[in-house]
Structure formats: structure tokens, C-alpha cells
Amino acid sequence: MDSFEVSRRQKNEVEILEIKGYLDAHTAPSLENAIQELIDSDTYQIVINFRDLAYISSAGLGVLMGFIENIREHGGDIKLCEMNEKIYRVFDLLGFPKIYDITEKEEDAVQKFNR
């Protein structure tokens, strides 16, 4: 079984989720739970850091989409950062950069909230 981990930290009132390992149909629920937890505690400014993510499947991408409407309605957003080339390619093919802010550096993503 490929492993997947989510860890949480905070930076300038922005919640940062660091994801690590393989994000596929089996592991997607743990990311889903992590985001749901944030929403439950009225946290809508979320940055997901992809630095340690090795693989993402379409089911993993689906998780991001499932929440985005709700979060934006609350004036928040999910911003994505520090993707490796391969993963960015997956996002890019599907056209995600048109819908999501994807930055190279985490601080840029956080900055976008503070502006």
C-alpha cells in the first residue's frame, strides 16, 4: 500500500496543509477529512503544499473540486503551491490553473490571501 500523509500548520492566519506520498482513490478520503475539519472550524483560507507529493490521481484532484465552491462562497479559497513538474503537468492538462491559484513558493500563496 502506498502511503499518504497530511499535516497541518498555520501561517499568518492561513491554514497550510502539507501533503506527502501518493494521493489516489484509496488515500483521497484522508485529505477530504482534513479539509472538512478546516471547514467545520470555519477556516476557509487554505494553502495546500505539494512539495512532498509523489503522485496524484484524478480521484485526488476531485477532492479539491468538491470543496472549492463552498469555500469560495465563504470568501475563502484553496491555493496550491510547490508542485513538482510532473504533478503540475497533470493540473495543467486539465486546466486547473484557470480555476486555482497555483504558485511556486508557499509564501506567495499565503501572500495572495493577505493582499
Partner: protein
């Protein structure tokens, strides 16, 4: 009677059963090896007598704990049985002077580990032999069943003893003997002292011998004098010939038995693990049953420990803690395997037990099994006593008494102990040797005769010598027990498991408890009565059950959980197979025929069903719509969405839309109808063979590849978001339409990421670059040729790794 399926053979076995019972009841008193026991005193009285005696000898016993045990002189017993037959022997022993059965009271310090270890094996040794093995500070007193002391021994520390001359010691010994009026020393002859004895030896030993004139027994009378006190007085009665009974089988046979046991055990263990993995094991009921058996086992153990000398919490609980889990596990394996095997070859053997499990307790089949079980037990008992009568002394044949059993019989509440022990040993034996072994053999051999022979053989080489009916000769023991085992095997194969379970259990109970009616001990006779009351109640309930409503097999058939799960799995597999066929029917059956275009296509789902989709839409003579799509996720949900997508597409196809317009409409439909989080990437294009152009739009899908004979391979990636990601406006403003001019020999390739992301066992992806490089060298092949080569190449790369995503590809080549 036909209602319950009464047959001629039932009449036969019931008649035989009644006959067997009468033969047993009539012959038993004549065949009972324990018949001469006559133990009128109870344990407390015996201990009192022993203490009185020790007081008279001024021996201090108060710091010790007294443990009485009922033992016998096997040599003498067998001498009598062989020479006079059991019935005569019993009379002689009961009336005679030679103490064949007697009490031995040991006085010991509590919590002595040495004693604990030694106590189990000591028995009809003379007190003299025993005293040599004794640890210090031990006293033993032997008493006849009438309570007369005929032997005692004290272990003493030799350091503190002052040696007296042999003559003085003799006087002390004679004085002691004179006080015991029943001994007339004139009949005896004093033997010479041992060579090792001299004036300085602290303990002087005197041995007298005589011919008793009682049945040719000789007697050895031993008195030991230490200092001025008597430390041993024993009378040992010896028959003219040695008749040591031996329950021991030769070593080689013992080895074979152990081997067979090990083989059966390993076989069961392997089968158990295998079947557990394949979910062919019923667990709930067998787990419960095993808990009961383990509980019974621990009750039994506690009883036998209470009866023994064991003291101290740790020593007491150690055997309990160490053995009970194994009993639990062993029975769990045996019962669940037995059930699983039997259910495979003859589920009807478990019918009555299944009925219990489904909560039905009163039906004629149950009654019939119990009644047949009674017949089985009675026939077996009849055969047993007939065997003893027939072969008796004439064939130098005698029954022996299990010493341990006898010891326990008089040491705990016998009926309870025997009931629990019977439940444990019978359930184990019948589950392993009937339910499992015969069912397993049935699966292997099929033919009834072979199964019967094999079952008897298996039993013969594994269980025979372990049977509880012992005779002097190994082979006789084996033969007698084989006859009884064949009966059990026959009853199991002819009828059902409950029949043999009850048969073996009631046989066991009667064999162990009926003798209590003949021991001549009023305080134990209740054990015999309890037996027959219990059996009587069961018998009456069984008779009443015959009149109860006949249960239809089909209506109330019990189906164990694992069977239900198995059926469920099979049903799901069938459904999935149907789903697979239905989905395959949504994909093009064959490639369209259009002049000037060579088309090849393939879709290989990773699971039974998948989320890849491709299709061709005929748009007139020279035009063809081509679509390829990949739904997010996989398996059944993806397949549903793929089906939906096809529906949406078909609804739009007739509207004569441009690819971009069509995809915008599709996105709108998708966005409105599908839950957020699901999306689909797609390319839709229209190839116009006459105009030699391909117009297409891309919605988040992998790039289109075009191979031109001169310019080589190019991947084309116009702007466009996947369907379902966002609503109309954003989608519409971000999708481009692209027009590719075509010329003869050009190859167009559309694919899903299952191809580019195919993984090998090292988790490396095949990769887009690799795919493009490969295709760029294949321009001269036909469409099908190109497709085959790509597929082969990817398969070689993937090796044994499982396919993790659907793989779809369309190859189109423009012809001259």
C-alpha cells in the same frame, strides 16, 4: 412412522440396541474389573484411621497435610482375573485376605514441588519402594478397604539416629508385631540380613516370608527399625507368577501414532489457514463452541488439580493458563474445519446441528439422532462386555484399570468430573476422527466403501492405542476398539453427526459411571443413579420429540455466514460480469468504414468496468466525429459517469455543432447533473476526409498527437478545461478550437493517460516522451499495426505490474 423416514435398518439397530443394553446390564457385574473394590469407607474415615494409627505409634503428623488415594495391586488383580475369570476373581478379592484394592494415605508438607511431580506415577508399588523414592518428612499409611492398617512408612533423617545392635532391633520389631494380633509369626521365616548391613547401619531391616496358602500368594513382611523406633512396616502379597499388566504399546507403534497425529495436525492446520483465507470457515458458532469446550477443560483441570496434591497459586494456575488456550485453538480448528469439510461433501450430516443453530430444538430428526445414538452406545457396550466374557481368562486376556482414572474417581465429585471430561474428549474425538477425517476422505475418495476402509485405517493407526478401553494385550485392545470404531464410522456414514456425538458421549458416560452402582460404597452410589436419571430424561425428551412437527429441510435450512458471503461474492461477480458486458456494448463494436481513412482503436479497462470512453459519430459520407474521454476515478462510479457522458454526447451529436460548441454544451450538462468532484477530460474532433482537415477541441485531455511524414511527430494542446470543473462562462472563455490540415500518410493519435502513465513494477511511468518517441518511428505501419506495436511496447514495459488505469487509444491514418 414413514413421516420420519423409518426404515428396516432402524428397526434392526433399535432391536440390537435393546439387546445390547440387556447384555450389558446382565453381564456387566460379571465383567467389571472394579467389581471387587467394595469401598465401604469414605475418605475422611480412612484418614481418621490413619491418624489414629500414627498417634498410637507416637508419630507426629500434625504439620503435614493428609491426602488419601485409592490404589490397587495390579499384579495381584490380574493374577486373580486370569486364573479365575473376572466374576470369580471379584468374589475372591472382595472376601479375601489379600488386599488387592486399598487406600494409601500420604502425609506431606504442603507446597512441595518434588512431591507434586512424583505423586502422579506412584501406585501399586509396595510401601517399601515408595519410601525409597520419598523425599524427607513424608509419612504413608496403607489401609485395607475395611480400614485396617497393613503397612506404613516414615522417612527419617539418618543423621540423628543412633545405631542399635541387630539383636536389640529384632526385639523391638517383634514387640511391634506381637501387638498386631492377626500376624502369627510361626508361619513366617526370617530371612538373613543384607550384606550391606553391619552394626553401624542406623536402620536395621527385617524381612520375613511365608506361603499364605491363600491362592498360592506369598507374603513378604518387612519391618525397619531405626534407633529404638519402627520406621517401616509393610506386607506385600505376591502371586506365584508375575502378571504385570501393560498398557504400553511398543515404542515403534508409539512413534507411528505420534507421527500420524502430527501429520493429521499439520494437515488440519494447513487446511484451516487455507480455508480461512478463502473465507470458507464458519467462525461465530465454532468460536462459541470452542469457548465452551475450553471452559469444560478448565473445570476438569481444576477438579483434577483439587484432587491432587498441588498447592500454591502459581502451581495451581500454571497448567490452566498454559493448556486452556491450546484446547480452545485446537477445538476451533477441528470444529470449523470439520464443519467446512462436511458441508462440502454431505451437508445433511450437519442438518440436526444446523437446526439447533437456527433456533429449532424440537423436531423428529433430532429425536431420531438421539435414539440412534442410544442404540449405538448400547450395541457398543454389549460388544464390550461380550468381548470380556468371550475372551476373558481363556485367552490370557484381562481388563486393566486406569490408575489415574480410579484415583480421580474417588477424589472428586465423580459424576461431574466424568461428565465434563466426556464432553471434552468425545467432542474432540468425534470432530477430528468422524466429522473432519471421514468428510475429508469422502472428498478424496468419493466411493463409500473406500471411505469406510480408509476411515477405519486412519483410526487404526492413529487412535487405537489411545482408546480408553484397555486390555492386557496391545493387539486385543486394538481389535476391540477397532470394532467399536467401525460402528461409529458406520453410524456416521449412514446417519448424521449428532448420532455419533450422542452415541459416543452416552457410551462414555455409561462406561464410566455405571460401575459406581457396584463399588459397594453408599456414598458414591449416587453417581450411578445420576447417570441413569440423566439418560432417562434425554430418552423421554427424544421420544416426545418424535411426535413434534416434522421440519421441512428446505424451509428451515441453516446457511452459515461464510456460505452466505460466498454466495454474495459469486452474485457480485456475476453482476459485475454483466456490467462489464453492458459497458462494452456502449463502446463501438467495430471501427467505422470511411473511405480514405484507416482507423484502429482499443479500450482496455483496468477493472471489470472503467471510466474511459471513446466513440465515433458518423456525420455524413466524408465526415466522422471522434470522441475520447476519461472520467475521473475508476471502477463502478467512473463507469456510471462514462455511461452518462455517452448519453449527453448522443443528445448533442445530431445538432450539427462545432467541436468547441459541443464541448461547451457537454460541460453545461455535466456541471448541472454531476456531483462536484467528478470531472471528465475529453477531446472531440471532426475529421473531414474530403477537405483533408481535422477540427477539434480539447477539454483538459491529453494532447493530440499528429505524425507527419516529413515534419515528424507533433503534440497539439489547445486551451481547454476538463468537463465538470467549472460552470459555463469560465469554461467557454477558456476553450479553443483547432484546425489541423491533413495530408496523405498523416497519422492522428488520441489516447488516455492509462497509456502514458502505465507503470512497471518499480513504479516508473512509461511517460509521454517515451510514447511520442515510439510513435514517431512507426509512421510506415497501418493504423492497426501502429496500435499493436504501441500496445506490445507498453505491455513489455509494465511486465508483471497490475494495470492501474484504463487504457484507450484511437489511431487514424489518412490514406492516399
Amino acid at each position: 412412522m414413514h413421516r420420519i423416514g423409518w426404515k428396516k435398518i432402524d428397526t434392526l439397530i433399535f432391536v440390537l440396541g435393546i439387546l445390547g443394553l440387556f447384555v450389558y446390564l446382565y453381564l456387566y457385574p460379571k465383567s467389571l474389573p472394579e467389581g471387587a473394590i467394595k469401598a465401604p469407607l469414605d475418605k475422611k474415615l480412612i484418614v481418621e484411621k490413619a491418624k489414629e494409627f500414627l498417634d498410637a505409634q507416637s508419630v507426629e503428623w500434625r504439620k503435614f497435610r493428609a491426602r488419601p488415594a485409592f490404589v490397587h495391586n495390579a499384579n495381584a488383580l490380574h493374577y486373580y482375573q486370569i486364573n479365575s475369570g473376572i466374576e470369580q476373581a471379584n468374589k475372591k478379592i472382595a472376601d479375601g485376605e489379600v488386599p488387592v484394592f486399598y487406600w494409601r494415605v500420604r502425609f506431606r508438607q504442603p507446597q512441595n514441588l518434588d512431591n507434586l511431580i512424583k505423586v502422579s506415577r506412584e501406585n501399586d508399588d509396595t510401601a517399601e519402594n515408595v519410601v525409597q523414592k520419598m523425599t524427607k518428612d513424608t509419612l504413608i499409611v496403607d489401609l485395607t478397604t475395611k480400614g485396617e492398617v497393613f503397612g506404613f512408612a516414615i522417612s527419617v533423617s539418618l543423621d540423628s539416629i543412633e545405631a542399635v545392635p541387630r539383636d536389640s532391633a529384632l526385639q523391638i520389631a517383634l514387640q511391634f508385631l506381637q501387638r498386631r494380633s492377626q500376624i502369627n509369626l510361626n508361619d513366617y521365616q526370617l530371612l538373613d540380613p543384607d550384606d550391606t548391613e553391619n552394626d553401624l547401619t542406623p536402620v536395621k531391616k527385617f524381612v520375613w516370608e511365608r506361603n499364605t496358602k491363600i491362592d498360592d500368594f506369598s507374603e513378604k513382611l518387612t519391618v525397619k527399625v531405626a534407633g529404638s523406633g519402627i520406621v517401616q512396616f509393610t506386607r506385600f502379597f505376591k502371586p506365584p507368577k508375575n502378571y504385570q499388566a501393560s498398557n504400553d504399546y511398543p515404542e515403534l507403534k508409539g512413534l507411528i501414532i505420534v507421527l500420524v497425529f502430527v501429520i493429521i495436525f499439520i494437515l488440519m492446520l494447513v487446511l484451516f489457514i487455507y480455508k480461512s483465507r478463502n473465507d470458507q470457515i464458519e467462525q461465530k458458532h465454532n468460536m462459541l463452541l470452542s469457548v465452551f469446550i475450553a471452559l469444560f477443560w478448565s473445570i476438569m483441570l481444576v477438579q483434577s488439580l483439587l484432587a491432587s496434591d498441588t498447592r500454591g497459586l502459581l502451581l495451581f494456575f500454571m497448567p490452566l493458563i498454559t493448556t486452556t488456550p491450546f484446547i480452545f485453538l485446537g477445538f476451533l480448528i477441528a470444529s470449523s474445519l470439520g464443519e467446512s469439510e462436511a458441508r462440502e461433501v454431505w451437508p445433511e450430516k450437519l442438518f440436526t446441528i444446523d437446526m439447533f443453530r437456527s433456533g429449532s430444538f424440537f423436531f423428529p430428526q433430532w429425536s431420531m439422532s438421539i435414539l440412534r445414538g442410544f442404540s449405538l452406545a448400547f450395541i457398543s457396550l454389549g460388544i464390550l462386555v461380550l468381548g470380556i466374557q468371550l475372551f476373558d481368562w481363556k485367552l490370557d486376556f484381562f481388563t486393566t484399570i486406569d490408575k489415574e482414572q480410579l484415583y480421580k474417581k474417588f477424589s472428586v465429585v465423580p459424576v461431574f468430573y466424568i461428565f465434563v471430561q466426556g464432553a471434552v474428549s468425545v467432542s474432540f474425538g468425534e470432530t477430528v476422527f468422524r466429522l473432519f477425517t471421514i468428510s475429508f476422505l469422502k472428498r478424496l475418495l468419493k466411493k463409500t466403501v473406500f471411505v469406510f476402509i480408509a476411515a477405519a485405517l486412519t483410526w487404526l493407526i492413529s487412535f487405537g492405542a489411545y482408546s480408553q478401553v484397555h486390555f492386557s494385550s496391545f493387539w486385543l485392545t486394538l481389535t476391540m476398539n477397532l470394532v467399536l470404531a467401525c460402528l461409529l464410522i458406520f453410524f456416521f456414514m449412514k446417519w448424521d453427526f449428532l448420532t455419533v456425538l450422542w452415541g459416543a458421549f452416552s457410551f462414555y458416560l455409561i462406561r464410566e459411571l455405571h460401575p459406581f452402582l457396584f463399588f459397594g460404597n453408599e456414598s458414591l452410589i449416587y453417581n450411578g443413579y445420576a447417570l441413569w436419571v440423566f439418560l432417562g430424561v434425554v430418552f423421554i425428551i427424544a421420544l416426545l420429540g418424535l411426535r413434534s412437527k416434522y421440519q421441512d429441510k428446505v424451509l428451515r435450512e441453516y446457511v452459515p455466514d461464510y456460505k452466505i458471503r460466498q454466495q454474495e461474492r459469486e452474485r457480485l461477480a456475476r453482476e459485475l460480469e454483466i456490467a462489464k458486458q453492458v459497458q462494452a456494448s456502449f463502446l463501438p463494436e467495430k471501427n467505422p468504414q470511411i473511405s480514405g481513412l484507416d482507423i484502429a482503436s482499443v479500450c482496455i479497462p483496468a477493472k471489470e468496468v472503467g471510466g474511459d470512453y471513446y466513440d465515433f459519430l458518423p456525420l455524413g459520407e466524408s465526415k466522422l466525429g471522434i470522441v475520447i474521454g476519461d472520467v475521473s476515478g475508476k471502477g463502478i462510479p467512473a463507469a456510471f459517469h462514462m455511461t452518462l457522458t455517452k448519453g449527453f454526447l448522443k443528445s448533442q451529436a445530431k445538432l450539427d455543432l462545432s467541436p468547441r460548441e459541443l464541448l461547451i454544451n457537454l460541460n453545461e450538462l455535466f456541471w448541472e447533473n454531476v456531483k462536484r468532484g467528478t470531472f471528465i477530460s475529453m477531446i472531440y474532433g471532426i475529421i473531414d476526409v474530403r477537405e483533408r482537415k481535422f477540427t477539434f477541441a480539447r477539454a483538459g485531455h491529453n494532447p493530440l498527437l499528429i505524425l507527419k511524414s516529413r515534419e515528424g511527430l507533433r503534440s497539439v494542446l489547445p486551451k481547454g478545461l476538463a468537463l465538470g470543473l467549472t460552470s459555463g462562462e469560465v469554461f467557454g472563455s477558456n476553450i479553443d478550437e483547432y484546425e489541423l490540415p491533413l495530408s496523405a500518410g498523416d497519422v492522428l493519435i488520441l489516447y488516455t493517460d492509462g497509456f502514458s502513465e502505465a507503470m512497471n513494477p518499480d513504479k516508473e511511468e512509461f511517460g509521454e516522451e517515451n510514447l511520442e518517441k515510439l510513435i514517431s518511428e512507426l509512421g510506415h505501419h497501418s493504423a492497426q499495426g501502429i496500435l499493436n506495436l504501441i500496445e506490445n511496447n507498453v505491455r513489455q514495459f509494465v511486465e508483471s505490474a497490475p494495470q492501474h488505469d484504463d487504457m484507450t487509444m484511437i489511431v487514424m491514418k489518412i490514406m492516399e
